[in-house]
């Protein structure tokens, strides 16, 4: 397979189509429009491919829910304010156990915010986001290559656990170009018994999230919770970078983790032993892996392009056994590696 140079938004679209996505619905919003446009252009050539520019984000998520239950591999994409609108449908897909991919190319918020890269949607993504007792699997890719790989994996996980999966990236990841190799997608494994395709001569089925009886609804909640526990046990992913000899470890994901790597190079050039712990799945958060690291490393700096959201998961993971500092740049500010290195160097000096 050849390397190709593509922007993040286009990489997601191409990976999705290669993974067998045949239904996409979306509503334009910056900074993810290239993805919607890519799907409009390329679904035309995918056999059985459907592209709908929906009248709203809400309609888009319910369209993919319909196509999902009919048996298609489905995706929708948006950016922060649009993802807020989709929450009703994400909650419903979790309740009805429908697979589907939701891409959030985050921008500054709250409200309309701006169209610059930010990481303020971490809470919304990792805590379920919509109403009710549910979680969505959330990937936080940090390179275009990871966008390609994780988009394909997202479809497999969505099928495996019959649940919506979110790709949480930001405007910088969506817009930047990097060389990418598309891996060969796995063949789809998803039973027809979960689809609605007409009863034929057999028994009719119905799919619902409305369960009026309290005991039945409780059991449905526990059933979902058991599934989420399996995901929590089996699916956490993280990268550790130069942690072996580190005296201080930065915890960051996505674009923030890229900046952190650049900062670490500068810090190490100046003799400071700094490493990176990068969650790749944001939910399930790699709790145990980070806790293990905190057994030998006692100084952490959490860096996010927000006022501090993932830092709460870091605290939950480390449980007071190490010092945790926080550095945040919300609102669309993307600090340089040199900026971040200066901040981290001050913490390093204090601990040294």
């Amino acid at each position: 397979m050849n390397k190709v140079l593509m922007s993040g938004n286009n990489v997601i679209g191409e990976a999705a189509i290669r993974a067998g996505c045949r239904f996409y619905a979306g509503y334009p919003i910056t900074p993810q429009n290239e993805l919607t446009e890519y799907m409009a252009e390329h679904m035309r050539n995918a056999p059985g491919g459907v592209f709908i520019q929906s009248e709203s984000e809400i309609a888009a998520i319910h369209m993919i829910a319909g196509a999902s239950v009919a048996g298609a591999r489905v995706m929708t994409s948006s950016s922060s304010p649009g993802i807020s609108l989709k929450q009703e449908g994400i909650s419903s897909m979790a309740a009805c156990e429908l697979p589907g991919i939701i891409v959030n190319i985050m921008r500054g918020g709250p409200g309309l915010g701006n169209i610059l890269p930010a990481q303020g949607d971490y809470f919304q993504a990792t805590r379920g986001g919509g109403h009710g007792d549910y979680r969505t699997i959330v990937f936080g890719p940090a390179t275009c290559q990871e966008l390609a790989d994780l988009t394909m994996d997202a479809f497999d996980l969505a099928d495996k656990y019959r649940t919506p999966v979110m790709i949480l990236a930001d405007g910088m990841m969506g817009q930047m170009m990097e060389p990418v190799i598309f891996k060969k997608p796995k063949p789809r494994e998803y039973s027809e018994k979960f689809m609605l395709r007409g009863a034929g001569n057999g028994k009719s089925k119905f799919i619902r999230g409305l369960i009026l009886d309290a005991i039945d609804m409780e059991e449905h909640n526990w059933k979902l919770a058991r599934k989420y526990q399996i995901i929590t046990d089996k699916e956490p992913l993280r990268e550790e970078y130069k942690t072996a000899d580190a005296k201080l470890v930065i915890v960051a994901y996505g674009t923030a983790a890229r900046i952190a790597k650049g900062a670490i190079k500068r810090l190490r050039d100046n003799g400071m032993k700094v490493g990176l712990f990068r969650p790749i799945t944001l939910w399930p958060f790699p709790m145990l892996q980070l806790r293990e690291l905190a057994e030998k490393i006692k100084n952490f700096v959490v860096f996010e392009m927000s006022t501090g959201q993932m830092v709460e998961d870091v605290r939950l993971a480390i449980q007071g056994t190490a010092s945790i500092e926080f550095h945040g740049r919300p609102g669309g500010v993307v600090p340089t590696p040199a900026n971040l290195a200066n901040v981290v160097a001050r913490y390093y000096a204090k601990k040294d």
Partner: protein
Amino acid sequence: MAKKVFGRPKSLKEAVFHYCPGCGHSIAHRLVAEVIDELGIRGITIGVPPAGCAVLAYNYFDIDMIEAQHGRGPATASGIKRTLPDRLVFSYQGDGDLAAIGIAESFHAANRGENITVIFMNNAVYGMTGGQMAPTTMLEQKTTTTPGGRNKSSEGFPVKVCELFSQLPGTTYVERCAVNSPAGVSKTKKAIKKAFQCQMDGHGFSLIEILSPCPTNWKMSSIDSCKWIDNVMSKEFPLGVFKDNLPAAKKSGEAAS
């Protein structure tokens, strides 16, 4: 040996409707099921019930069904139909579902000319939540949220769905019926059958509005409710065919083949 002349449609389960006495939903369910039986399409039909009184429709229809979130039926139905173009897909919606919270999804599914059918139950009130104002509530009509009667200066006017949707070039067949009399029931069934046939022939979006009594929330007897549809409701919402592009659609279909 006695010949069976009337029975339960095969497309209805053996379940007792939870609907109030005198409610039109039971009649409409039965009519849809009879049409599915008569067209022989039970095995290829997928229904999308709404939030509202008919949310439990999947307890009654013996066909594949998926509940939609409130108002989103036509979006969900669009996703199903585009994925499975040879299936018969219908959404079943109330007046709040279609004309308030889901007006965008309904309007745009119609405007795209999705080859689906909408069964639209208009009873001028929110039934399941206990009788609040609907977008189709009459002027002066008392509901729990318009205790002094619907006032046009603060609550606006009844939304005329057939009149609006028939204006969209994307719609093919639009008719308003009522299930408050034997003749009305029989007409409604014919309309549903025409709409489903329209879809099966690939002619595009059809919508059947059904004026339906809600004695519980109108605080009337069943008989008075039926009279109220004749004397009040159908004055605001006249019955009839608002759009029938089937002859043109058939002609262009023949020309194409």
